[in-house]
């Protein structure tokens, strides 16, 4: 791996020495990641990233700890330290998971020019950083199509966490998907201003279902927990309501007894992206300085198995849209105009 014991003497200016050295031990590389405040079990991208790291590690017979590992951050001041700690432990690739880590990856990567980094959901323009972006809007588009085809009330809800670009990509794609099916379907969009206020998610979903929506797509992290709770309660009371999950397959969250309120989930292939970078590095082709964008075409974005909630004929229509996007016939907008 890369020497970091002598990092005091490392030049701060960006050099591009990163790539060459990494290939020293091609047969055996180690990988580690820094989570954001969510932790490796946030049922979201931290979790999928960790699953990626783990599966790569296990596949290559690595030990947890030396071969692969993660560090959790308790606040955004911790990112730098955690990244640094992993670099010092000589991991060959250190992943920063989440857009919030951009600043820290940038900073550490420009100091530790011998180390290799990867960042998810943001672009860091440095030769020793591999950037991964997702076209969330494409997945959200399909979710919008599914919702529009499935709704019986012609009203659909979208609950966002904070008004930040990632979430707005979800909103934009979702709206576009719905509109592609039927312009007249109303999409009720609400931002709760937080990713951790389940009571707001619940009350917002309550209002949406009350005012006639029967499907709610959430891109709101922990706030989305409240959306699920509300839907489950309604399902129990006999209402036919649905939730579309986000980031990971949220089927489990929707389970009540034998029923389930999860229509489908928009999947973000963080796991796959993480593994791909690791494998490339293993092969001596660490994609430093590059930005890999995963969309429907790359299978980096998609819809989760609906487990029968979405009937076959609807699935075919969704597939159809998917194909059009992959073929470039439809370009999904990234922002709401």
């Amino acid at each position: 791996a890369c020497g970091s014991d002598d990092d005091a003497s490392t030049d701060t200016t960006t050099g591009d020495g990163g790539e060459g050295e990494a290939t020293e031990e091609t047969s055996d590389i180690s990988v580690a990641m820094v989570t954001d405040v969510g932790g490796i079990d946030d049922k979201s991208f931290n979790q999928s990233a960790w699953e990626g790291i783990k599966s790569f590690g296990e596949e290559n017979g690595l030990e947890e700890g030396d071969g692969y590992d993660y560090l959790q951050s308790t606040s955004d001041t911790d990112y730098n330290t955690n990244l640094n700690n992993l670099v010092r432990r000589d991991f060959d690739v250190v992943y920063g998971i989440g857009a919030l880590m951009k600043g820290s990856v940038e900073e550490i990567a420009s100091q530790q020019t011998d180390a290799q980094f990867a960042i998810i959901d943001e672009v860091v323009d440095l030769p020793n950083v591999a950037s991964v972006m997702f076209k969330e809007q494409e997945g959200a588009f399909l979710a919008g199509v599914a919702a529009a085809l499935m709704t019986e009330t012609d009203k659909i809800g979208f609950v966002g966490g904070m008004e930040i670009p990632v979430i707005e990509r979800f909103e934009a794609g979702f709206r576009a998907g719905v509109a592609a099916v039927d312009e007249s379907i109303e999409v009720d969009v609400q931002y709760t201003g937080a990713f951790d206020k389940a009571e707001l998610g619940k009350t917002t979903a309550n209002l949406m279902y009350d005012t006639g929506a029967d499907i709610v797509f959430h891109a709101a992290g922990g706030t989305g927990n409240g959306v699920f709770t509300e839907a489950k309660e309604r399902k129990e009371a006999g209402e036919d309501v649905w939730v579309i999950g986000v980031d990971a397959d949220q089927y489990e969250e929707g389970q009540i007894g034998d029923e389930n309120v999860t229509l489908t989930s928009v999947l973000k292939g963080v796991e796959m992206a993480v593994v791909e970078i690791a494998e490339k590095t293993l092969a001596g082709e660490f994609p430093g300085g590059e930005t890999t964008t995963y969309g429907l075409a790359e299978d980096g974005i998609g819809l989760a198995d609906s487990r029968g909630a979405i009937p076959e004929d609807v699935m075919t229509q969704i597939e159809d849209y998917k194909q059009q996007i992959v073929d470039g016939e439809i370009t999904v907008p990234e922002t709401v105009e």
């Binding site: 931002y191 201003g193 009571e199 009350d210 927990n225 709770t229 309660e233």
Partner: protein, 319 residues
């Protein structure tokens, strides 16, 4: 949305939002009425939420539909035990009560997350399967107007919270225990000369606050989040503290304040569905509940009178 629709949405949502706050704020009323400041409410809620969820997960098979209720008892006991720590510090050890409360808050979240990691080997628990359900109250829900406002698809826990508020009012203002409790918070030395055991009263009060805060936390977690993680309880304890002060340390006042917070909160959510209001930038709706609270407070001229001996350790013979 028509005005009536807005009302039918806002009122039940307010009650739903307020329920856990009411319980916790009343816990605070007991503690502070006895003269012990309790800003550890947040931490006590955390322990309650944690215990409630963990208990629920482990015993859902044993207790079935009754699990959430039994979990409340577990949460109550756990938070009560933690509140004892606050009691020992602030009553027996004459600690600064604010400091001790801060310690309780830090300890609760650290301890419960530590335990979650130990037990589940991850940062949050699984989802519970047995939750508090909503139901229509038979007969009452049929009443026009009143029915949909208060009795249709409601949580039993909301009635429970309101019941606790009324019961607390009764205990504090109608029973000898309440009289003694208040006397200890106003003038402990006077109470002492009347043969009242100040220490015992204060311990009891702090333990009641722990019990209620624990229940409040467990109600919150089992009706709203369905799991427990680092962000499950984040600030509700402080909102309860605010409700208690806003309500002038009176159980029904605290209930009113909590309902007011709920009202403001659901108003801000309903706002975006009301045509004209939805034109306003979202941030104004987001801050609406807090601004409303401040305005309401400034409008309620006349200061809130805290119990006189609140926050002061009782030392025999000191003047």
């Amino acid at each position: 949305m028509s005005f009536l629709d807005v009302l039918y949405f806002i009122i039940p949502s307010a009650i739903f939002y307020a329920a856990p706050l009411i319980l916790v704020a009343i816990g605070g009323v007991f503690s502070e009425r006895s003269g012990v400041v309790n800003i550890g409410l947040e931490g006590l809620m955390v322990i309650g939420a944690f215990t409630g969820i963990v208990f629920n997960l482990f015993f859902a098979d044993t207790f079935g539909g009754a699990t959430p209720w039994v979990a409340l008892i577990a949460a109550m006991v756990a938070a009560l035990l933690l509140s004892l720590l606050h009691a020992v510090a602030s009553i027996s050890f004459r600690a600064d009560q604010v400091v001790s409360g801060v310690a309780i808050n830090l300890l609760a979240i650290a301890l419960s997350l530590y335990l979650v990691k130990k037990i589940f080997d991850k940062g949050q628990t699984d989802f519970i399967t047995e939750r508090f359900g909503r139901a229509d109250v038979p007969l009452l829900s049929e009443i026009p107007f009143i029915g949909p406002l208060f009795f249709q698809s409601v949580y039993l826990t909301s009635f429970f919270a309101i019941g606790v508020a009324v019961l607390a009012w009764f205990i504090i203002y109608k029973t000898p225990f309440g009289l003694r409790l208040r006397s200890v918070g106003e003038h402990p030395m006077a109470a002492d000369t009347m043969g009242i055991n100040v220490t015992k009263m204060r311990y009891t009060a702090v333990m009641i606050s722990g019990a209620l805060a624990g229940i409040g936390g467990a109600v919150y977690a089992q009706t709203i989040t369905s799991d427990f993680g680092h962000a499950t309880i984040n600030g509700q304890g402080f909102m309860a503290l605010a409700a208690m002060i806003f309500g002038k340390w009176h159980p029904l006042g605290a209930m009113g304040a909590a309902l007011f917070f709920g009202l403001a909160q659901s108003l801000s959510i309903a706002g975006s569905s009301i045509p004209i209001i939805s034109e306003i930038p979202n941030v104004f709706l987001l801050i609406l509940p807090y601004v409303l609270t401040i305005l309401a407070l400034a409008g309620f001229i006349g200061k809130a009178n805290a119990p006189k001996a609140n926050g002061k350790p009782y030392i025999k013979g000191e003047r």
